[in-house]
């Protein structure tokens, strides 16, 4: 076997790559574009939409969503709404499969778009209800065709109010209507 031809051919490939644009990016300064469907870490949760039905907690394969509503166990009085006391997502164990988001019947829970939630202690990773309430609402368009249809991109920095994420085609109800609905049905 003669040596040389194949190696030269291989070196040609290397040479060609030498003059290509580098594919690596210098991460903290430069960022690669992310698709709006990216299933990110910070969940987006709309308190106004959530009924405390706990479908998300039931669908989670790991059971890491903890929901406590009040009144619990007692008869609900007329005009009263379930109040959410605890809504914890232990994302230290979360695998971002999105099944909870798929389960939510009221479009209250959405995948987030972040990916830089590193913490020094494992316990700090749990997302508590206060953080969910106050976090900027930049939901991922994963499993939310209604957001995709609007061309929404969470990486553009735009936030969506709770009225804007509904999958219903008719006009979104106002908060007063949402509040009174429970009473009407009784």
């Amino acid at each position: 076997m003669t040596y040389g031809a194949g190696i030269a051919k291989g070196l040609m490939v290397t040479m060609r790559n030498l003059f290509r644009k580098p594919t690596t990016v210098q991460y903290p300064e430069e960022r690669l574009p992310q698709h709006p469907r990216f299933r990110g870490e910070d969940f987006v949760w709309y308190e106004e939409r959530c009924t405390g039905c706990a479908s998300c907690a039931k669908y989670c394969p790991l059971g890491i969503i903890k929901i406590v509503t009040s009144p619990s166990g007692t008869q609900t009085q007329e005009g009263e709404k379930y109040r959410l006391e605890v809504f914890d997502i232990d994302i230290a164990r979360c695998m971002f499969c999105g099944l909870c988001v798929e389960a939510c019947p009221y479009d209250a829970l959405h995948m987030g778009s972040g990916f830089e939630r590193g913490r020094y202690a494992r316990n700090d990773l749990t997302i508590h209800i206060d953080e969910l309430k106050s976090a900027p609402k930049r939901p991922s368009t994963w499993f939310r065709p209604q957001l995709e249809a609007k061309g929404y991109d969470p990486f553009s920095g735009e936030t969506v109010p709770w009225q804007g994420v509904s999958r219903a085609s008719k006009n979104d109800p106002t908060k007063e209507e949402m509040d009174s609905r429970w009473v009407e049905r009784q």
């Binding site: 040389g4 190696i7 051919k9 291989g10 469907r37 299933r39 394969p61 099944l99 389960a103 991922s140």
Partner: protein
């Protein structure tokens, strides 16, 4: 002045003992936490005993206490370089068990995803094979660069790159976004050129040829006896591919060839995968052209209760036949879930392939089977 004559005569035959060498479990070239107990005579391998279980996570047991849809997320973690294929094998088994029909568009999307995943897995294989041959990291990163584009496509499809969880019993969870199709077209246009480049790097490279040609020949009869499947079997000259032998989804309508090797040596095992990647591109192009409109998912309930019975669903995963055997007792989770993983079964022939070779070839031969520890230990 010393007199050489005074030294005692060396014995006519040196007494030699075989040496036991433990390769792994923390060895950079064993593709994960895998241990090989090698008995060597000098540099020649006398006996090999593979020891695994370091990555055992009890996937089969975990599946027994999760609902059928939730198990999809576990299958991502079997062969983590080919999550789409794992999803597909599992949902096929559930669909068979529960008798769920899949809409056409869903089947096409699944085929596209599974074939893209095959290309990605083979790119990793080729990259790591060259890494093991001593071409440190440069060709590996060429492979990874192209794989990156496939992962970007996956991110568009399902929001994740590795742990995709894309498929559901009854189809896929979501249709592809509109910007997926132009990106796929661009990928299909660029990829043949990249594969040519990769093939130019290895097919005629004298060092690769010298190191791999004629190395660890696995004869067809031996391969069949060892239950081998996938590219390793096809490199030995057996044209066995489940996409042709037992077509699932819409593979029956696709035109593609099964590349087979001539000699069954390590070189063939390298090249057969590159040719397969080309055939996968053909399939993706056809599926992209023919894909019909319509729904992508049957409205199956989240908590499926299949009738009492059992089902076996299998696919041609990048590494071979991946099968899921599910037993239902009518509940919301499988009564038993058995995973037939190609990497595990393909290790059967490892000893036959290694004995008699030098230790320097060990990692190359082992790498040519392409095992993934997430799948071996499950």
């Amino acid at each position: 002045m010393t007199n050489l004559q005074q030294h005692p005569e060396p014995p006519a035959e040196l007494e030699a003992e075989p040496v036991v060498v433990n390769l792994g479990p923390q060895h950079p070239s064993t593709h994960g936490v895998f241990r090989l107990r090698v008995i060597m005579d000098g540099e020649t391998i006398q006996d090999v005993e593979p020891i695994f279980g370091y990555l055992h996570r009890g996937t089969e047991k975990l599946a027994e206490e999760r609902s059928y849809t939730q198990v999809v997320t576990l299958t991502d973690r079997l062969d983590y370089t080919a999550a789409m294929s794992n999803n597909l094998a599992y949902v096929l088994a559930v669909e068979k068990l529960a008798g769920i029909e899949v809409p056409e568009r869903g089947m096409y999307l699944r085929v596209i995803a599974a074939e893209l995943q095959r290309i990605a897995a083979h790119l990793i294989f080729v990259g790591f094979s060259l890494d093991e041959l001593g071409a440190f990291h440069t060709p590996l990163l060429y492979g990874f660069r192209e794989r990156e584009r496939i992962l970007d496509l996956f991110e568009m499809l399902c929001g994740a790159r590795i742990t995709v969880s894309y498929m559901r019993p009854g189809g896929v969870h979501q249709d592809a976004p509109v910007d997926f199709w132009p990106a796929l077209d661009r990928f299909l246009a660029d990829m043949p050129h990249y594969l040519d480049e990769l093939q130019g790097l290895i097919a005629e490279n004298e060092i690769v040829v010298a190191r791999t040609k004629g190395l660890a020949v696995l004869l067809a009869a031996k391969a069949i006896n060892c239950s081998m499947s996938g590219p390793v079997l096809r490199a030995s000259g057996v044209a066995w591919d489940l996409r042709k032998q037992d077509p699932y989804d819409v593979y029956g309508r696709m035109q593609f060839d099964i590349p087979v090797g001539a000699n069954g040596d390590t070189y063939d095992r390298l090249l057969v995968r590159l040719y397969e990647a080309r055939q996968s591109l053909r399939i993706v192009a056809q599926a992209r052209k023919e894909i019909p409109g319509g729904p992508v998912r049957t409205q199956a309930p989240f908590f499926i209760r299949p009738p009492v019975g059992e089902a076996y669903g299998h696919v041609e995963a990048p590494k071979g036949e991946l099968g899921f055997y599910l037993v239902s007792q009518g509940g919301i989770s499988p009564y038993r879930c058995k995973i037939r993983s190609p990497s595990f079964i393909n290790l059967t022939a490892l000893k036959e392939m290694l004995v008699g070779y030098k230790v320097a070839d060990l990692v190359v031969i082992f790498g040519s089977i392409d095992v993934n520890m997430g799948e071996v230990d499950r």
